[in-house]
């Protein structure tokens, strides 16, 4: 029972983190049908910012990380703006190139070896409740995810900007005809994505205490699986997909025989292929994604 509860706690924290990763991708996919491969590098940049600035004062570190990721997201938006009218593949390759560029720049500036620091390491202490143990960082992860999702829900459902965002995600050409300004709405989505990346970066770096140019690769792949599982372009789907993936990963790592553990991520990728082939709109589908002639 304790073992199960421990797995559940682990699953929920992982799920919360993964849902955050996935939301960052889904927000952008929703408004411009673009799979943002450079999202992982936003996290990487935020991670370096937090590690370097946060060494003296964690609060400043968090702020710097958020500013860096948000600004980078805005720059990315400017770069891919000309690609908006082109087919999805061009955007895919554009963000792939930006991702490669940022990774190479990080190697150029910080070197290829991991940089270590102590930013946020105090969070790694664990609290015990009965026979269960949970680290402060896990609690922080859960809380920050809940807070971010509440804020995002409020933004989407209670503000005019949110209304416009949802309108663009639903049908971008119709929204444009009705006077929604794409050059305002899409940057907002990128900033939201950047902030999500910044928080994710802080949580990741606090966990491991290291940053390297390839820091963002794993979060990107996780977000990639989660958004496709949940249905590309829906916000609910991204959260559900992330949660599901986190829970499944945690339970597999607790219950799978150790010889099979390295193959856990393959299960996720195979699930992606199965979902794409059998349920092209994901587990939670949105009507507007169907292509019409």
């Amino acid at each position: 029972m304790t073992y199960f509860a421990q797995a559940l706690i682990q699953g929920l924290t992982l799920g919360a983190l993964y849902a955050q990763f996935a939301l960052g991708i889904a927000v952008i996919f929703g408004v411009m049908r673009m799979m943002n491969f450079a999202y992982g590098e936003l996290i990487m940049a935020g991670g370096y910012a937090f590690l370097i600035v946060g060494a003296s004062n964690p609060i400043y570190g968090v702020i710097t990380a958020l500013v860096v990721t948000a600004v980078l997201a805005l720059i990315l938006e400017r770069i891919v703006r000309p690609l908006r009218t082109r087919e999805a593949t061009a955007m895919l390759v554009g963000t792939f190139a930006v991702s490669y560029l940022l990774q190479a720049l990080a190697t150029l500036i910080f070197g290829a070896n991991p940089k270590t620091g102590s930013a946020g390491s105090s969070l790694l202490q664990t609290a015990s409740v009965g026979s269960l143990s949970i680290s402060y960082l896990d609690i922080l992860t859960l809380c920050s995810s809940v807070v971010l999702m509440v804020l995002l829900t409020l933004l989407l459902n209670r503000t005019r900007t949110g209304l416009r965002l949802r309108a663009v995600a639903e049908d971008s050409s119709m929204a444009r005809i009705l006077g929604v300004r794409m050059n305002v709405v899409i940057p907002v989505a990128f900033v939201v994505s950047g902030v999500l990346a910044g928080v994710a970066a802080v949580l990741l770096v606090a966990q491991t205490g290291t940053a390297q140019p390839t820091l963002g690769v794993n979060p990107l792949l996780i977000a990639f699986i989660a958004t496709i599982l949940g249905g590309l372009g829906t916000f609910r789907g991204a959260v559900a997909g992330g949660m599901l993936l986190g829970l499944v990963t945690a339970f597999l790592s607790f219950y799978l025989p150790s010889s099979a553990k390295p193959f856990t991520s393959s299960i996720g990728y195979v699930a992606v292929i199965v979902v794409l082939v059998l349920l092209p709109n994901g587990l939670i589908s949105s009507r507007n994604l169907r292509t019409r002639v």
Binding site: T89, L92, F96, A97, A104, L105, Y269
Partner: protein, 366 residues
């Protein structure tokens, strides 16, 4: 056969020029210094990979991120046959006895790689050919991730992260040239075949093609099998050239490099594959030398790790933004003028139909 019949089968002047470029590269590689020759050889190997990507992506219009997985499969199958049985028994004890003792010559092993690449692609892509556009690209990316994950962890069979080593043959410049030229011919002949033309029709307009009775999934499947065979050759040659085979050789870096090369050159054109692969290899090679530091004439440069990648990514990004159809999509002005004059002088024949078809496809994408 008359010239126009040859042309309809894919043997155009353009193919001749491309084959000539490969021969020139081969000659340059034998004449140049060791470093330069290495860069040129790498360019030709990249070209092999990019051609295999072109066969599928260029004709179907779907960017595949899964080709390194096929290349790895082919390289793995080929490499197994050119490693000492004693060494195989140590690194990959999980294989059946027959495979551990099996051995072959270099050429046969490359052929085995081609066959395995084709089979692998044919089986894995069976469900994927039904997908279009971005979904197909993402699914092929997932295929690559599965293959990398399995290859990295299935220690007994793939050798895990350290992979296979002790490949007995290193390919000569001549054999690399021959394989590259063969792949170009395969790509041109496939492109001119019925299946290739049907697939390009589906690329231009999926709905219209389907309405004309084209079975898009079937044509895509044929393309991926042909493309898989070439990818298998490319992987096998790449592994032989380096003398080892590890999953990380076929990781996300190679994935990005090959896709970028094809897009920079021009995804819908065989000449695009050649221009992209050779140009970007040259850029990477030049910046790679600067990045390693050293003295160039009067200038001394400190080493900057990552510089070559920055140059590579910037160039790709600029081309994707500024010339989305690729650098080689339209011929340079003086060649265009010459072609125009040549066509003006010629009476209307079978060729005109094809030329106008090519022209419209260019207009659609420019």
């Amino acid at each position: 056969m008359t010239y126009s019949q040859f042309r309809r089968r894919g043997f155009s002047v353009e193919l001749g020029v491309l084959l000539g470029v490969v021969i020139l590269c081969g000659l340059a590689a034998t004449a140049a210094s060791e470093v330069t020759s290495g860069v040129i050889t790498q360019g030709l190997i990249s070209l092999l990979l990019v051609v295999s990507l072109y066969i599928f992506s260029g004709n179907s219009g779907i960017v595949s991120f899964g080709h390194p997985a096929i290349a790895f499969a082919g390289a793995y199958a080929a490499s197994l046959f050119i490693i000492e049985p004693g060494q195989k028994a140590m690194t990959v004890p999980g294989l059946p006895e027959a495979l551990i003792s099996a051995q072959s010559s270099a050429v046969v092993s490359v052929a085995i790689g081609a066959a395995f690449g084709a089979v692998f692609a044919g089986v894995v892509w069976l469900p994927l050919v039904r997908l279009s556009g971005i979904r197909s690209s993402l699914a092929s990316f997932a295929v690559l991730l599965v293959v990398l994950n399995v290859a990295n962890n299935w220690q007994d069979v793939t050798g895990g992260q350290t992979g296979l080593s002790g490949l007995m043959y290193a390919p000569s410049v001549l054999s690399i040239c021959i394989w590259t030229m063969a792949s170009l011919v395969v790509a041109a002949v496939y492109g001119a075949s019925r299946s290739g033309r049907r697939l390009r029709a589906s690329r231009e307009d999926e709905v219209a093609a389907e309405a004309c009775g084209i079975n898009i999934a079937l044509e895509r499947w044929i393309a991926i099998v042909v493309s898989g065979a070439v990818a298998g050759v490319a992987g096998a040659i790449y592994a032989q050239y380096l003398g080892t085979l590890t999953p990380s050789m076929f990781g996300l870096d190679l994935d990005f490099l090959t896709v970028a090369m094809l897009l920079v050159g021009g995804m819908f054109f065989l000449r695009g594959a050649v221009v992209g692969a050779l140009l970007l290899t040259a850029v990477a090679g030049i910046f790679g030398r600067i990045q390693n530091g050293g003295t160039f004439g009067f200038i001394t440069i400190d080493p900057y790790p990552g510089l070559a990648q920055v140059a590579f990514a910037l160039l790709t990004l600029i081309v994707v933004l500024v010339r989305p159809e690729g650098l080689a999509a339209k011929p340079p002005q003086f060649i265009a003028n010459w072609l125009h004059r040549r066509r003006e002088g010629k009476a209307a024949g079978v060729d005109t139909v094809e030329d106008s078809a090519e022209k419209t496809s260019m207009e659609v994408h420019s």
